[in-house]
């Protein structure tokens, strides 16, 4: 079982009356709510936490891409990952990922991901999300009905750029490049592990299975609601005659660990409620432009039912509801272990994205929860999927002799002292 410490990097200073005063945390949120001087401390705190997670033994540390929003402050996750690559040397750096339909030309992603893989010594996990409609359509202007087609083309260009040893011409519908010649190329061969984050579009399942990519289901509504969707995925895996390695799938979960269940509520309730009430406050039309979801996905209905159900629960949300409905997994180490085991085995996932920082949680609480998780929960869950422990198809393969740039060292003053 693999654990990745993930930080969404929310803006922690949204005002108390944010929901009442503003219609959306995304797309048209007034940017006067952002304070760059406070932002300086926020970025460093969040990046410190990711580095701290590595020191506690998490397998991976993760970031992702969002635009024009107070929910996640990473328009460019690659910048964050570059910082992490210089300050860590063991954990996988999971960029989940770059919303490739919005890059022009997409070769930029092939290049930047290759740079990250090279700088980190082969520790990159490369995510290719379609991107939320808020990001890809409303902020980055992609036409909803053509987004998937453009995404597919961008994917084909990037993968070919990594695979080919000779310059080639790419004559796409959305991108034409006479000379594609990726410099640098990634360390990991044939390419870094590819993760496809999905919000529930059923087309994504086949795409993952066509290429043997990891399917990462990212939701904030917990494993009880994720179950029907993951079941659909595993049915599809079986129908396609693929093996059912749990490492084919990942799931994101908000987790809060304290010394007792009562302490969890006392410490974390306000921050979790901040997240659900403010960071997820999206003007509904921004989440559903016509054409973004295919008619098949709409008919499958999983999404809309989930949304309607979630919307209902979101009215007057309480800590008790968050916990009882398993939107979050919170409590003593034993409570968290027991519920996570149910989550991991129930969904059949080999990768857990642990959201241990939530909303406006201060640093010390984040570290408290993270440390308890690393010391008292993670070791109890490591044994899961031991039958598949040698299956490394969806994990990094770093260089053995890689550098440890986080250890400060003087530059070479004499011949023979260079990095080599």
């Amino acid at each position: 079982m693999k654990f990745t410490w993930f930080n969404l990097m929310p803006w922690p200073y949204l005002p108390d009356d944010f929901r009442e005063k503003h219609r959306s945390v995304w797309v048209d949120i007034p940017n006067t709510l952002y304070d760059p001087r406070k932002g300086h401390y926020v970025y460093h705190q969040y990046m410190d936490q990711l580095e701290y997670a590595e020191s506690l033994g998490f397998d991976g540390i993760g970031c992702n891409e969002h635009h024009q929003n107070g929910y996640g402050l990473m328009p460019s996750p690659n910048l964050i990952a570059a910082g992490l690559a210089r300050r860590t040397s063991r954990a996988a750096i999971c960029v989940i990922g770059n919303s490739i339909a919005g890059y022009n030309p997409p070769i930029r992603v092939a290049e930047e991901f290759a740079m990250l893989d090279v700088i980190s010594g082969g520790r990159l996990v490369a995510g290719f999300p379609v991107g939320t409609p808020m990001d890809t359509n409303f902020c980055y202007g992609q036409i909803p009905a053509l987004t998937r087609d453009k995404y597919q083309e961008a994917h084909d260009m990037i993968m070919k750029a990594w695979a080919e040893d000779e310059p080639f011409a790419f004559d796409g519908k959305y991108n034409q490049l006479r000379w594609v010649n990726c410099w640098p190329k990634p360390i990991q061969k044939p390419h870094p592990p590819i993760y496809i984050p999905g919000g529930g579009s059923i087309e994504t399942w086949d795409f993952c299975l066509d290429h043997d990519y990891n399917y990462s289901y990212l939701s904030f509504y917990g494993y009880l609601r994720g179950k029907s969707l993951l079941e659909g995925y595993w049915d599809r895996v079986a129908k396609r005659g693929k093996d059912d390695s749990p490492y084919r799938a990942a799931f994101a979960q908000i987790i809060c660990v304290a010394d007792s269940d009562a302490e969890a509520e006392e410490l974390y309730a306000e921050h979790c409620l901040y997240f659900f009430n403010r960071c997820l406050h999206v003007f509904p039309p921004f989440a559903d432009p016509p054409g973004y979801r295919t008619v098949n996905t709409i008919k499958y209905g999983a999404l809309s039912q989930l949304r309607m159900e979630a919307q209902r629960i979101m009215q007057g949300l309480t800590w008790k509801q968050l916990v009882d409905e398993r939107f979050i997994i919170a409590g003593s180490p034993e409570t968290v272990r027991q519920q996570l085991e149910e989550c991991i085995t129930g969904l059949r996932i080999g990768h857990l994205f642990c959201l241990l920082h939530t909303g406006n949680m201060p640093d010390w609480k984040t570290r408290h929860s993270t440390k308890l998780f690393a010391e008292k929960v993670m070791p109890q869950l490591r044994h899961l999927w031991s039958d598949w422990k040698d299956d490394t198809r969806w994990w990094i393969h770093p260089m053995d002799e890689r550098l440890h740039p986080e250890e400060t060292r003087p530059g070479a003053e004499k011949p023979g002292q260079e990095w080599r």
Partner: protein, 261 residues
């Protein structure tokens, strides 16, 4: 009106409403499509041979995957005219249909008799940004489209009872499908640069606008009037963006004065 189905040479299958006799008039609908009742078409059919094709993705018309960009939509318009066997029809385009009709008249200026643009999309004025129709709550859309939102609601939904979950779902799916298609030429900014081609429009052109249009405000009517060589602009009082539906009589009489029989 009777409905026929045509197949274009590209392979799109389209439903076309047809009625009347006289000079051929092709009416191109807006992003919302034809509504359940289109009384202005019936009135036009008293004087003209009216054809109202539905775009792929609208109603029973299929082949939406064949049309991706503005040139596809424009040539599709001419493919429909060909499939109907018409020569030099009058073109009337409403809203998004106006955008398509203007492009058709610009690429094939000799093939249009007269052109009527009704609250046409297709231009962008920085000082009058058009609201983002892809980011509206249903109630907000009705407010923008109609002078009388209550009447508008009934017209748009065709009297569907939304307490019936199945009926609601069917309407929602239809609306998603229509606007997904419209987004190909209207998202994120409804401007595919027809303005630089309008000098080619040879047809005498009538620009018709509701004086209370809140979606594409009357400043756009004046801009079309400036950019098309032989255009006249006429404002219709007490009408908003859906003027053919809101003021069918005034609409038909303005069109009838302009289009020769």
């Amino acid at each position: 009106m009777k409905a026929l189905t045509i197949e274009t040479r590209r392979g799109a299958r389209c439903r076309v409403l047809e009625a009347g006799s006289g000079p051929p008039v092709v009416f191109l609908h807006g992003a919302g499509g034809l509504l359940a009742d289109n009384p202005f078409l019936d009135r036009l059919a008293a004087r003209y041979h009216v054809f109202a094709p539905e775009l792929p993705g609208y109603g029973e018309s299929t082949g939406e995957e064949l049309l991706e960009d503005m040139l596809d939509f424009t040539l599709h318009g001419w493919d429909v005219v060909s499939a109907l066997g018409l020569t030099r029809p009058h073109l009337i385009g409403h809203s998004m249909g106006g955008m398509i009709a203007a492009e058709m008249a610009a690429v094939a200026p000799r093939d249009v008799d007269r052109l009527v643009l009704v609250a046409a999309a297709g231009l962008w004025l920085e000082e009058h940004p058009i609201p983002d129709i892809f980011a509206l709550l249903p109630g907000e859309l009705v407010e923008l489209l109609f002078q009388d939102p209550a009447q508008g609601q009934t017209l748009l939904t065709g009297g569907v009872d939304f307490s019936d979950m199945e009926a609601f779902k069917a309407f929602y799916l239809g609306q998603q499908r229509r606007l997904a298609m419209a987004g190909k030429i209207l998202f994120p900014i409804p401007n595919r640069r027809v303005s630089k081609r309008l000098y080619r429009v040879a047809a005498p052109t009538l620009v018709l606008w509701g004086d209370a249009d809140r979606l594409i405000v009357p400043a756009y009517a004046r801009q079309w009037g400036r950019l098309i060589p032989s255009a006249t602009v006429e404002m219709i009082p007490d009408a908003a963006h859906m003027l053919p539906y809101e003021q069918p009589e005034a609409f038909v009489s303005a069109v009838s004065r302009f289009l020769p029989r």
